[in-house]
């Protein structure tokens, strides 16, 4: 069929040409510039820029907060997807639609409102701060806001998987005397793993690069609440373009690795589904 298309359908040259033009202009040339700039640094300049106490603290915080948020997203996402697919309750369609708010709401708004909600006089903070829970201007605040921005990923990857599960297998297990928990643990959960991991990785990747929401809530104190993208902006504001580029290359390499992992996971989930 594709060979027929190749002969009959028009516009291959035009559409591929347009695609490559945009891809080069918007993505490839800028990426190339970044690596070209980084290549002008000597190895020791590069190491000095990307490997200091302050940058190590920032990597660790970025990585740790993103990981914590992605784990939270996986747990919450499984719960939400399960409830939205399997149960009926009033206003279900509305709640289902609300899951997408974090995708639609600008991250700056999320940051602004989270900083205010968990501040000592905020709606949540007035109860939490006296208990010693600092949900604003702390590391916890970063995890909270990253959990918000990544919320839809796991829900949206799990929902189609849960919908396509075959009820026959569950019925068979039940008729053989399995309890509900055993069925969940040994029959449902194993087929959810690929989707769960894919959603987790997507939320993690998104959290690693997140900037807009975090700068509102974190306080951005070096060594304590400063994430890696904030470091890049700090270098840029000092006009230290080479150092900023070196840091950017580290982040880029990390995200490319993660992208490869996500692609592998998605292939795995597809082979699972078929």
């Amino acid at each position: 069929m594709s060979s027929v298309n190749q002969r009959v359908l028009p516009g291959f040259g035009l559409s591929l040409g347009t695609t490559l033009f945009f891809l080069s202009l918007i993505v490839l040339i800028p990426l190339g510039a970044c690596f070209l700039k980084a290549s002008t640094l000597t190895w020791s300049d590069f190491a000095d820029a990307v490997w200091t106490d302050r940058t190590r603290a920032a990597y660790l915080l970025t990585f740790g907060a993103s990981l914590a948020a992605a784990v939270l997203n996986a747990v919450i996402g499984l719960l939400l997807a399960w409830v939205l697919v399997r149960y009926d309750f009033p206003l279900k369609r509305l709640f289902d639609a609300l899951v997408d708010i974090p995708f639609a709401l600008p991250t700056a708004v999320a940051g602004l409102v989270y900083a205010s909600l968990y501040a000592p006089n905020g709606w949540f903070g007035q109860f939490l701060v006296p208990l010693g829970i600092e949900g604003a201007y702390s590391r916890l605040s970063i995890v909270l806001v990253l959990t918000f921005t990544g919320l839809p990923f796991v829900v949206r990857t799990l929902q189609p998987v849960l919908e396509s599960l075959d009820a026959d297998v569950e019925e068979a297990a039940a008729s053989l005397g399995a309890s509900r928990w055993q069925i969940f643990r040994w029959i449902i959960l194993p087929s959810l793993w690929p989707g769960l991991l894919t959603g987790f990785a997507l939320a993690f990747a998104r959290a690693l690069g997140e900037y807009g929401s975090v700068i509102f809530v974190a306080g951005n104190m070096p060594y304590r609440t400063e994430i890696a993208p904030v470091l890049i902006v700090a270098r840029l504001e000092e006009f230290a373009y080479r150092e900023a580029t070196a840091l950017a290359v580290v982040l880029l390499l990390f995200s490319f690795t993660l992208l490869a992992v996500i692609n592998g996971l998605e292939r795995w989930s597809r082979s699972y589904a078929s």
Partner: protein
């Protein structure tokens, strides 16, 4: 009917488990999503509607930020729509070497930190950048000006339309396109009268998502804008600047506009989804046993 009853008993949880899980899910959703959205409007309107309106329209910088966002986001959406339709046509309709690499490259901007995206544009077009001197000599401003904001926004939202359209085109198949051609339609007639009507809902869906992200983009435009109030501050940047100036009411007023737009986006998205579902049910009324609906 009897079989249905047995299935329900054997493959669902006891009522108390069901309602505990539903309660937990709705509580989490309320704390994470619903209360923050309500809080934006509550804080914006805390001192009454008059003060709110003054904060929004009375502030010339905020007014300019709204205008700028209404210029930058649609421009980026138009660019990405042209790109997305072209890329989807090439990828979904043709086999060629490097096709899977192309798909990966289109997805790349999703995994690049927006701050890094902004930095790349500064490295190319900033005064210290590769084309900086040339641009200066020809009096062209990109960084710290609207073109830079458009480029940064386009980068960040690059995959949206293409990603949405590729599966839609693949699912529809090429039969109707080929039929139009064999009946004597010119390539453009085929595109306008057959292909485009077939993909319109998918296209609209991609455009809506792309637009939402474009209007809210922060990190990338933060780096390229130079933060000149009344000149290169988009609405999300204006929210941040007012927040830094401890002007909380002004900041929440600006944020409420963005939140309002996000809610509208979701309403359009949901109605598009139900329209697509209805069309699909109409097209294939008797297929399947309903298990996968």
């Amino acid at each position: 009917m009897q079989a249905e009853g047995i299935r329900r008993i054997s493959t669902t949880e006891p009522a108390w488990v069901r309602w505990t899980l539903i309660g937990a899910a709705l509580l989490v959703l309320t704390v994470i999503v619903i209360v923050p959205v309500v809080n934006v409007f509550a804080q914006a309107l805390a001192d009454g509607f008059g003060v709110y309106w003054d904060n929004l329209v009375g502030d010339s910088d905020t007014r300019h930020a709204i205008t700028l966002t209404l210029i930058v986001a649609p421009t980026a959406v138009v660019l990405n729509t042209i790109f997305g339709v072209a890329a989807a046509w090439a990828i979904a309709r043709f086999q060629f070497p490097g096709r899977s690499i192309l798909i990966t490259l289109i997805d790349l901007p999703f995994s690049v930190s927006p701050v890094v995206a902004g930095l790349m544009i500064v490295l190319l077009f900033g005064l210290q950048g590769y084309f900086g001197v040339w641009l200066l000599n020809h009096d062209i401003e990109i960084v710290f000006a609207t073109p830079g904001l458009i480029l940064a926004t386009t980068f960040v939202t690059f995959p949206f339309v293409a990603r949405e359209l590729i599966p839609v085109l693949e699912e529809i198949g090429a039969e109707e396109d080929v039929a139009a051609l064999s009946l004597g339609a010119s390539p453009w007639q085929m595109f306008w009268y057959v292909t485009l009507p077939n993909i319109k809902w998918g296209l609209l869906y991609g455009i809506i998502l792309c637009n939402a992200r474009a209007m809210g983009e922060f990190g990338a435009v933060y780096v390229v804008s130079g933060r000149i109030a009344g000149l290169t501050d988009t609405l999300p940047l204006r929210v941040e600047k007012l927040f830094q100036e401890y002007n909380s009411p002004g900041s929440f007023a600006a944020a409420s506009v963005l939140t309002f737009l996000a809610v509208i986006t979701l309403v359009i998205k949901v109605s598009l989804e139900s329209r697509v579902r209805a069309e699909r049910a109409e097209a294939a009324p008797a297929t399947g046993d309903g298990k996968q609906s």
